[in-house]
Symmetry: C2
Subunit: 421 residues, 2 copies
Amino acid sequence: LTTPSPGKPRVDTLIDGERLISRLRTLARIGARADGGVNRQALTPEDAAARKLVVGWAREAGLAAETDAIGNLYLRHTPAGADNAEPIVSGSHLDSQPAGGWLDGAYGVIAALEAVQSLKENGTALSRPVEAVAWTNEEGSRFIPGVMGSSFYLDRLSIGEIADKQDPDGVRFGEALGELLASTPDLPVREQPRPIAGLVEAHIEQGPILEAERLTIGVVEGVQGMRWMEITVRGRTDHAGTTPLRQRRDAMLAATAMVQALADALHDPDDIIRFTVGRFIARPGAPNTVADEVTFTIDLRHPDEDVLERSTEKIRRTVAEKAGACDADIELQESLKPVRFDQRIVETVASAASDLGLPARRMVSGAGHDAAVLAQRYPCGMVFVPCHKGISHHPSEDADEADLIAGAAVLAETLRRLASD
Amino acid sequence: LTTPSPGKPRVDTLIDGERLISRLRTLARIGARADGGVNRQALTPEDAAARKLVVGWAREAGLAAETDAIGNLYLRHTPAGADNAEPIVSGSHLDSQPAGGWLDGAYGVIAALEAVQSLKENGTALSRPVEAVAWTNEEGSRFIPGVMGSSFYLDRLSIGEIADKQDPDGVRFGEALGELLASTPDLPVREQPRPIAGLVEAHIEQGPILEAERLTIGVVEGVQGMRWMEITVRGRTDHAGTTPLRQRRDAMLAATAMVQALADALHDPDDIIRFTVGRFIARPGAPNTVADEVTFTIDLRHPDEDVLERSTEKIRRTVAEKAGACDADIELQESLKPVRFDQRIVETVASAASDLGLPARRMVSGAGHDAAVLAQRYPCGMVFVPCHKGISHHPSEDADEADLIAGAAVLAETLRRLASD
């Protein structure tokens, strides 16, 4: 598989793998945690330092660096004669979870920089500009909501409406953003978002599928739809020693029956439905007292909106059936429709991986990404690489260097093909 | 049922019901909470004030009042010629839960005082002393362990070994006990516990059975045995969006399956087994993260030790069977053997209720009591009266006055019969 035919692209001529890894390691030092993870939350001094580092690398490479009013970073190579063409864009985010890993987001930015820089250095013939981007505050762990920079780019969010939001320490978003922008006084500020001809985001999978199937590349066809629900079961508190079971209205027994019946009702032989009860809180929580209230969450995901709708109906039916002597209600807290990426971009990623001789599969992203936001308006796609045990949003997040390099090469070849139309 | 035959005892000649209720209402003002409940925890100034009040009533009635090294209160009527006979004792406790009710404990003390005082006032012929007792710190909510005064009486607990225990505010037990004893400087202090010929404790049922069956008196044959267990289920945390269900080790699904299977395995057609899962804690507890650890408690009670043992075996088997891809272990945290009360005392309570024309049933106490501790050495029994909706350990704890009066009359008649042998 690793012996390409003559005339086919090769990983080691498309990008500089050593430089990619070296930059990722250097970036990981900014906000490094003692446990090996990274704490580089949005709009912190660490976030600002990461931006400066990346802008420095881009400028050394001769790329034009810009920012905008929300601090998104644009690092552009414009081939001769392509000044007026809409660019092909690639990027992710530099901010991390408070107890995050070194690759989530960072990989997509540094791989994009590597791809754009290599296309420039190799003198690759292109008919469009290629641009590496770092979107502001994807994680949303310090300032809610996440995917802020990409939402701003689509004009789905204005700085005015979030300026007064505070982080847990009471720092205003507007103040933190002002400090971030002041840290790069020499960067030109784009007044208006510009149309994008196509966008590809590289990312670690954040799931276990590629590793389990020993594949190098995930050709991402879209992002699952998601529904978050909270179920509240209300019974009556009673003394555990004195109240016969037939006289009880035990919220614990009703809620655990619901969870089991839901797991059965939503069982999917194809193992595509993601059904998770991650939070389960029983009150009053004393060992010798019958629980009078349980709240539990459902995180439900699937690539097909119809399946989500049918599954929600099953949830309503099952919860009502299993309530017994208790009362139960369901609150739908969030609902995100599935995203389907642009067919031409998906096929370009697939053929680039195939021509590079890399084992790949089509898949759907389980997590949200900037590319899923931008897909609301622009043709988008994603490239996944395997990560260890599927772990992400955790200091132990990791990936094989060879896979990170292969993913960046697929990204570079994909950008080349998209920018050559 | 309420028309007794000639020569049979009558509630209104045995005790002064109005005085009983009036004293209970007066006592409930000490530590009264705004929500109607009582906060009169052990060895607090409120506890001391309650003792002074009760000692005052006893002295007015001509009873001899004493205390001992742990603050138990003894209020004795010694009929002529009975000085050297072992007494018949009745009592409960004056301390309450922090958010307790007005009857738990208090009823048993004031009913005993009423019975002893009435026996004295009526000049009832007796061959033994009769004594009302208030045992120190039954609840154990401020200083652990509970049933302290009765355990001390059996020499199962020495003050030295608990003197340095601290309450949540850091107050030492020894210091609080010193203050309590100092509040009644005029009370003689008993040097040694004295043997008891028989003991009967009156108490609200703290369960719903008498009320549901419209009965006035519970003839308590014993106290259930109890086992407390904690089950820990360990799986693996995974991203809810990205990890296929087959690859998960979901502690939530395993633990809820255990709870359901346990409820099935321990199902008792006679509804005697008390099986309660009151606490269920899932970690990390994020809606979009598969739980990697769940701990839940089991409170298991039954009057028969063999049933408890067989049920424990079922629990072990069921937990192992339902662990699936997770690990699970069981910690036995507490085990109390069932208590069987003295047959002669049980029959005496039953015949007193019957002769008073009060509807009664035999039953087993679901909760622990001082009488269950003292039954380890002395012949003991209990009288239950119904309480509203079975509620106790809660400000809304309540009972019908007529039932409280009837229970005190049964107690007085029982003490009379036991002290007349």
